[in-house]
Symmetry: D3
Subunit: 140 residues, 6 copies
């Protein structure tokens, strides 16, 4: 009744499938996170990829741009998840959300979770956009 090791063939297959999804949507921005887990919690990296991307993200009910809108809402509302929000702003760009749509999602969030969390999220987006020369953002 114990969990299969993450190196079992079945788990490696699940991992490979999730990695394909992850690579397709995030443009490599999560790779550093996964590597930094290697010496402390490799199983967490495995399950983020195998479950989070292979099992869930790959489901057909929503396309990647829709999923990123949900994710931007969640991470803004949770607060304290700026590193993950940064990865997901990059992913949002990779799957085709415009900077205008990303910022609009964060402005929209202000009414539901307050200005302070919306501000934190906008400044994460600004940092990513600045790195990529995407500032200033055009108003919607």
């Amino acid at each position: 009744m114990t969990a299969p090791g993450i190196n079992s063939p079945e788990e490696q297959l699940r991992y490979e499938r999730g990695l394909g999804v992850l690579n397709a949507v995030d443009g490599g921005s999560a790779a550093g996170v996964m590597e930094s887990l290697a010496d402390v919690a490799p199983a967490l990296a495995h399950h983020i990829v195998a479950f989070g991307f292979g099992d869930i993200y790959a489901r057909p009910g929503l396309d990647p741009r829709q999923r990123q809108l949900v994710t931007l809402g969640i991470l803004t509302a949770l607060g304290g998840c700026e590193p993950q929000l940064e990865v997901h702003v990059r992913t949002a760009l990779t799957v085709g959300l415009s900077t205008t749509e990303i910022v609009e999602a964060l402005i929209h969030s202000a009414g539901y979770c307050g200005f302070p969390k919306a501000l934190n999220a906008v400044f994460v987006a600004k940092r990513v956009f600045a790195e990529r020369g995407l500032l200033p953002v055009q108003e919607g």
Copy 2:
């Protein structure tokens, strides 16, 4: 330097504009909430409509279906906002998200804010879908 009363002509205009947006997207599901504020905090009802819908929701950067995806993510993550989530599941249906898309957004949230909050949100959606004869939900 004081705020204009919510009954000033300029504020009534803002309110009317917001109400037009609200009615267009929520199919009347928020009306009861607004009425129940009348004797305790009418200014809160005013500003939800005038600011939340007139100023923010009406902005062009995202369409209503996209806004509802962000909102579903936020309300699921916040937790404890089941009454508001119920209103927004109704709004999601009104603006054209399918039951499959709504449920998929909530399943998607599990990886980002955990199973317990995702479960709470799914049971809110189930209640709304049941009232409208929309069960069972087709898998995506």
Copy 3:
């Protein structure tokens, strides 16, 4: 190095002191909560009274009305703490905050933690005000 039992003379003294503070500010609204802990976690009731009220609430830096404003802000922001918010709306009235001030604190919170949590808090306040014949609330 173990904690003193809550029935030790020193702890009884601390408890009595806290109970004096609690009774002075809450008008009896917490008594039911404390009693309902008697068969499951009497030590929690003891420490809420001895520490929360005897050690902290009794400190001179803020008066009870100021403390209740801070508390209304915290409980609104936390979410999911409606039973405790109900007790603290009663306490707010007992220590002399008006219904207008209480509602204004909750409207104020909307910008900082969003409309959904502000709404939840306002409906708790409405319930307490209704019981006491304090509706409608006069706008500030």
Copy 4:
């Protein structure tokens, strides 16, 4: 690159493994939750069992009593997850934590996430203990 359907043989195997773990630790208290997902989000039920219990809970690094202590801490801190906390208080009893240990974990949480959330959690525990004739709880 799509997720395998939850009815695929490989997923059924994962599900069966998770179900074995779940049944061993929760004494049946989650069954109703899973059934109520059948017509709205069966995939969520599948992944809670397959991932949550089959992949994670079954890992060897902590025993079930240790896992339940972590879970009690998380659910108390999150707030608004009383239905899930109820299931996990039952699970805690099934895996061998005493009522004293469960209550102590919740009292302990007061210092880290405040009295209101600790109170909410204690009243959930009280309800479960009452159903099973386990009141009053012996102090630790």
Copy 5:
């Protein structure tokens, strides 16, 4: 049914009114935040000023010192909003709360949202007080 542009005359008027309130209470500490939004989300800056300060903060039901006590409670409870808390500790000083009152509000919060969040908030206050030569704080 679209929102008026933030540069419309009516919105400029609302903005000016809000800016008057903001300048009166925050002693300039929010100006940098607003400027840094100019190239990423100018509409968010506009609405924080026009709605947050012009519509809400300017309402008569609570005076600025009372509003800051509520805000300190909210931001401490939310967690992860240290940059906004820093602005609001400055505002609290500007509107006339003493360092003793500010610290007392944060100590008071420990019982309601736990020691960790209270500690985070106290260290933000300490940083602001240190910059202004306001340490040590006199006990209440």
Copy 6:
């Protein structure tokens, strides 16, 4: 009805008792935190020690390793409490939890509060383990 000063003999006794508990479990990692409160909120340091450790931690219902598992769950779920989590990862090691058990508690948390908060917590643990030469962590 005012609180006794924290320098009263009775409070000094409570403090000493709490300090004994704290020193026994945390290996000195909280000392810096307490000292840094001396000029801003010494009463908060006093009550964390006297109440948090003297009154609560010293209670007999759970042993220190069990308490740290609950605490790891709470701090991971709260989010934004990385400084306190760092202290408590050190405490967890001091009271005898292995690096494997600590990491397993954090992986376990992913299902209950989501991957982002679990990741934040794991990276805090990694930092502590790295300082002590405890990497790589052995899988459970």
